[in-house]
């Protein structure tokens, strides 16, 4: 759109949709006529970082380049893509760096040797010499078979991959997988079908062996899991974040596949069932008694053919450790984002696998699979006395003070009035605030102490439309399907968690039966750290193309 504005003899030179920055970010101009081709060309190796309305930002990282190598792309393709679409000359040093980085992948391979079992072999002897000199590699390998091959202890398959990645020489894992115990699983596509992108994701995953599928909240990650299980046709271990989510998975699997209730076990704090398909929570796995993890035997209790990790970006550190020992089994990671607040993306890469599929939110929204959403930030003013209280509060209390201001309640009431008749979720962090809101709105409250039976009952009532307003705490953050919620009002959150914001927005993104717009309101206290946290939380969504409008509380209150 810039080139066309001033047609001149300069135009042919400045016509690409892509700008390569010196910090290895790529800026893609989305309105450019060649933007789609360019996106397809760079998507395999560049991570989409931000996707606001005009210019999308991709980042080229070593992990991204290795992901591309794992998917069968070579350095030449990457360099070609950059040079072909770049508006300005690409710095030579950057091209050289990309080629060198990509060249590091696959110099080392893990394979199965007919006589010696698992071996690490190389096409470049000095590289093998270099890594064998490392003190961290030495305990993981055994005898040297020949100049280019060394035996690896089968139990250290994950460890060695992790360590090699840290050394900058990621190994390609071609050692294959055990089939696991066979168990018939079929998809029951009656009245529904896997969406094209879901099919693609399953196909990519199965072809790659192990890896991560990145899909937005509400885009049907569970079905990708079910599709993969139908491919594997073997016993499956599914790891999820909490019990509610576990029930959700079970419900969905019974509905969409040939599996029956009896074939699916739940392994959580309350129930310890081990069945051909077992769904376990992270929490129970990471429970520690007297320094040991008592529930680890779950991993060995059956000959699992497939392990599914839900919400990979939340995978707790100990699970990585267990996963390192499960490298011979197929692993599928499901997530909405590879961004981890703790920066352990490289462990996801080396232990679960490279990214196998990725689709940006806006694209799926454009295909009509998730509902478009209107995101609004409502700024409320603290009253004078609240400001004084805020100023004198201890640092750790400040957020609570501003997040629970009384004005928020009034705004929430006004909003509920405005959307009367629609299904409304009010989401918050502080129980007393939620209780108060529940009281004023005359709506049931779901919080940590609410029993599971009670929760299911309330959710069912909400689905049926018997209740139109539901106040929920952060227990509802993950994986609860509330199909007809069209309005979400967030009154407080877990500080600046971008993750949580995305999850909460996901609550209203399921496609609506009548196709009408979803609304996401975030009520924020002005001039306080609440506002700073909100800015941080919104960044992820703003970068995904969800533009927030900001309105003053007075406007809402005035119309109410």
């Amino acid at each position: 759109m810039f080139g066309q504005a001033q047609p001149s003899e300069r135009q042919p030179r400045v016509n690409g949709p892509l700008i390569v920055q010196s910090d290895k970010t790529l800026l893609l101009e989305v309105d450019h006529e060649r933007a789609d081709d360019c996106r397809r060309a760079i998507a395999p190796f560049a991570e989409l970082e931000r996707a606001p309305e005009h210019i999308h930002t991709y980042r080229v990282t070593p992990l991204g380049l290795w992901n591309a190598r794992a998917a069968g792309h070579d350095a030449e393709q990457v360099v070609d893509a950059l040079v072909q679409y770049s508006r300005y000359p690409v710095p030579h040093a950057l091209l050289v760096d990309i080629a060198e980085t990509m060249d590091r992948y696959g110099r080392l391979t893990l394979t199965k040797h007919p006589a010696h079992g698992l071996v690490l072999s190389t096409t470049d002897r000095p590289v093998l010499e270099e890594v064998l000199k490392s003190r961290r590699i030495a305990p993981l390998v055994g005898a040297r078979i020949d100049a280019d091959t060394v035996v690896v202890h089968p139990s250290e398959r994950g460890q060695i991959k992790q360590t090699l990645l840290k050394l900058g020489w990621p190994a390609e894992d071609l050692a294959g997988y055990v089939d696991g115990e066979a168990h018939p699983i079929e998809l029951l596509e009656e009245g529904w079908a896997l969406r094209p992108y879901q099919k693609q994701a399953v196909e990519n995953f199965w072809h790659g062996g192990s890896g991560v599928v990145v899909l937005p909240c509400g885009a049907g990650k569970t079905l990708v899991g079910a599709g993969s299980m139908a491919q594997a046709k073997s016993t499956t271990l599914i790891l999820v974040t909490n019990t509610v989510s576990a029930r959700q998975w079970k419900h969905e699997l019974v509905k969409r596949t040939s599996l029956t209730e009896d074939e699916i076990g739940e392994y959580s704090g309350t129930r310890k069932e081990i069945r051909p398909v077992t769904i376990a929570t992270y929490q129970v796995l990471t429970t520690r008694r007297k320094g040991v993890y008592p529930h680890l035997e779950l991993f060995d209790s059956r000959d699992w053919g497939l392990i599914v990790y839900d919400e990979v970006h939340l995978l707790p550190a100990p699970v990585f450790k267990f996963t390192a020992d499960l490298q011979a089994r197929r692993r599928l990671g499901l997530t909405a984002t590879l961004v981890r607040e703790d920066g352990r993306e490289s462990d996801v890469f080396s232990l679960i696998g490279p990214k196998r599929f990725d689709a940006p939110w806006k694209e799926i929204e454009a295909q009509g699979y998730i509902a478009p959403a209107d995101c609004v930030e409502v700024r409320v003013n603290l009253t004078d006395s609240e400001r004084l209280a805020y100023a004198t509060a201890e640092t750790e209390e400040k957020y609570r003070f501003c997040a629970t201001t009384d004005t928020k309640r009034k705004v929430t009431q006004a909003l509920v009035r405005r959307f009367a008749g629609q299904q409304i979720l009010v989401i918050g962090q502080y129980i007393d605030q939620l209780d108060e809101l529940g009281e004023h709105l005359n709506a049931p409250v779901i919080k940590g102490e609410t029993s599971n039976a009670q929760r299911e009952k309330l959710f069912d009532a909400f689905r049926e439309g018997e209740i139109s307003v539901l106040v929920v705490s952060k227990v509802a953050n993950f994986s609860i399907d509330l199909p007809e919620a069209t309005v979400a009002i967030q009154v407080s959150g877990t500080f600046g968690s971008r993750q949580e914001e995305a999850q909460r927005l996901g609550r209203v993104l399921r496609p609506k039966a009548d196709g009408h717009q979803a609304h996401f309101y975030s009520v924020v206290a002005r001039d306080t750290i609440d506002q700073d946290f909100a800015a941080h939380r919104q960044r992820f969504l703003a970068e995904q193309g969800y533009a927030y409008r900001i309105v003053d509380a007075d406007e809402i209150l005035a119309e109410g």
Binding site: I19, S22, D23, S86, A547
Partner: protein, 853 residues
Amino acid sequence: MSPEAHSAPRSLAEALRARDDASLAALLRSRPDLITPVPTDLTQLATRAGTRASVLRALERLDRFALQTAEALAVAPDPASYDTLLGLMAGDAGDETVAGALPHAVATLREQALLWGADDRLRLVRTARELLAPSAQHPSPTGLGPSVQEATSGMSPGRIQEIVAAAGLPSTHDSVSAAAALTALFTHRRKMAKLLAGAPDAAREVLSRLVWGPPYGQVTPDPAAHLRWLLDRGLLLPTAPGTVVLPREVALHLRAGRAHRGVEPLPPAVAPAAVHGAQVVDATAAGQAYTALATLEELLKDWDEGGPAVLRAGGLSVRDLKRTAVALDVSEPVAAFWCELAYAAGLIASDGEADERYAATPAYDEWRDLPPAERWAWLAQAWLAATRTPGLVGGRDAKDRTLSTLGPGLDRSAAPEVRHRVLSLLAGLPRGAAPDAESVLARLRWERPLRGANPDGGDDLRSRLARWTLSEAELLGVTGRGALSAHGRALFGAPAAESAGSGASAAASGAAEPVGPGDKLPVHHHRPADRLAPLPPAEQAVATAAAARLLAPLLPEPLDHVLLQADLTAVAPGPLQRPLADMLGVLADVESKGGATVYRFTPASVRRALDAGRAASDLHAFLTEHSRTPVPQPLAYLIDDVARRHGHLRVGAASAYVRCDDDALLNEILADKRAAGLRLRRLAPTVLAAQTDPATLLEGLRGMGFAPAAESAEGDVLITRAHAHRTPPRTAPEPVPDGPPPPDATLLAAAIRAIRAGDLAATAPRKTVGEPLAGGELPRTSSAETLATMQAAVLTGEAVWIGYVNADGAASQRVIAPIRVEGGFVTAYDHTADEVRTFPLHRITGVAELAEE
């Protein structure tokens, strides 16, 4: 003044005298130290050309083959014939390449006045011979030992006769003829072969060990039989107790006549490592050139309000360099390069104040206002000529002090020449071809073997300079993807498309040029003028301007718009016009740089713009004007929100106060524990007074999350503008050249005329007026005769030879052409001094007409 063609020159001075002006000019151009100061005559020139320092310098500038030729001459008899020399260089078997290249090498040595005499009597200048000839202290690179004559000079006559007898020669009367007989035997290939045929195997083994040098070996007082066999026949000669040497003649026989194990008659070719399209190269180089400009601007912007402190010893501290590297997002050596480039271009300097800091010079402001291509040309020109070498930064000098960026000790005189040479070599490749760095280094080592202390390693200064040149040229955008760009080519005056191998082809074209009489081989200008020397300033300016013209269309045109996005970023999809870039730089933080710039708006950055005196409406107007897309609502809201709070609090300097119309806010401040450090006290419902100074107070309040504005004594809002810090006027550092600069044509002509005139005065045969004079004596005539001769000379316009005593009483001879005689003074053109002078008649001791020629 035609020389006596029939007689061969007897000295270097005579040989020089016989050379024509063009050939003298060639000598003086390549050895400029000879005319500083201008010698009075050719004898003095010859003497000076034979001094050790000057010869050493000339030898250092020889290429490998010419040096090998000189080395061969140093081990040859003095004088030696051309055929002898050819034999030493090519060996008994002959070598066509060597034979082809040798005339050129001999001509080089002649031109440099290192060699003189006709082809049958080639003589190396004595100093050069001493420097290159083998001796016990300085083993020759040829690996040859002393000759038989030299090695036997201290030997007893009886012992020599024994050797002669053992070698099967008749005995002679004295040692000298004995040594001569031995020499004759050793140089006779057939007889020598017969002699050696009878040697024991072990003895032959010993010889083969010594043949390529070093020629010295150790023996016990009672040597083994095979050594005894060699010693008896003089094939090994004792030099000191326990040490023997292989005489030169024997070694040459064993080497089949070759003085060198390997001769390198041809320069190693510069091999292309990769070939890119010329357009790709130019575009990449232009992109890099633009990056260079942006980087320097960023550096200077960073230092705009006072840069880092100057170390006491001069230069930048390691910490400041690190910080700069982080700020520029480059490695430290690259940061050092940018700092040094800015310094060499005169854009930064020390401000010379008590606490010395680096800062931009006034020239920077001038530079900033130039169009981009000219800005680049300014930098490139400074880079070409600079003797400062950032590559040394971080190393240690001879006294083990760390060399710091911008500090002392970074000047390397050879840098401009090496830079120029490397670029010339790149220009010799086809367009778009990137050279293999190693082949460039090999070529440079061939061209200056003596300067490279370490001939096989890559660590000598010239090689390091060459490597730095290659990387710096890439950084600066002179090259793109390793290949010389079109603007880079123009930068140092290289022709647009030069074919490879300019050095070798020049020999043929030189034949048409003036030849030096008495020199059988033509002394031609076999080196193109630009081959080694950087361009003189005037020509450089022209070349630089040409480069800038070539570059200008390749640089991206500055844009006048940005794209605003709802995630509070603005993307400038290319370079921005300066006012726009300046304003955005204040209003937003730069997040990513490169072809485009990504800015992020934050409350702090918007406040910065408000602090700089912009109103919210200005900002809205600015964004609306420069955005291609509607201003996103969150951004507009952000500006209003910050503006709403901006200036809400006002802080005064009159012992500092806080006032605010909202007394609840003041309550809030007073209640806040963090305000304790500010020691606030309520003056009125809407005014607080503070004991701290306003700056601390401002910081404190901002730290608490407020947006106070400073207030002046009159109650106006103080506007904080960035004030640029500048040094007093500064000149860029002068390059430190190695020796005097090559003289230009005018100076050369003048110098030659002066030398010739002095020489004329010293040597011209003259006829005397009055009584005959002994040669070289000052003429003596009576004052009446002097006056008459002068007046006659004025009329005829002829030059005369005078004896003259100056004010200090020193007598000299001069050749002058009188113009007028009046008032006891002669005004005349003094050929010796090459200027018009006035001589008092009473100081002229005598006058003589010059002899007819």
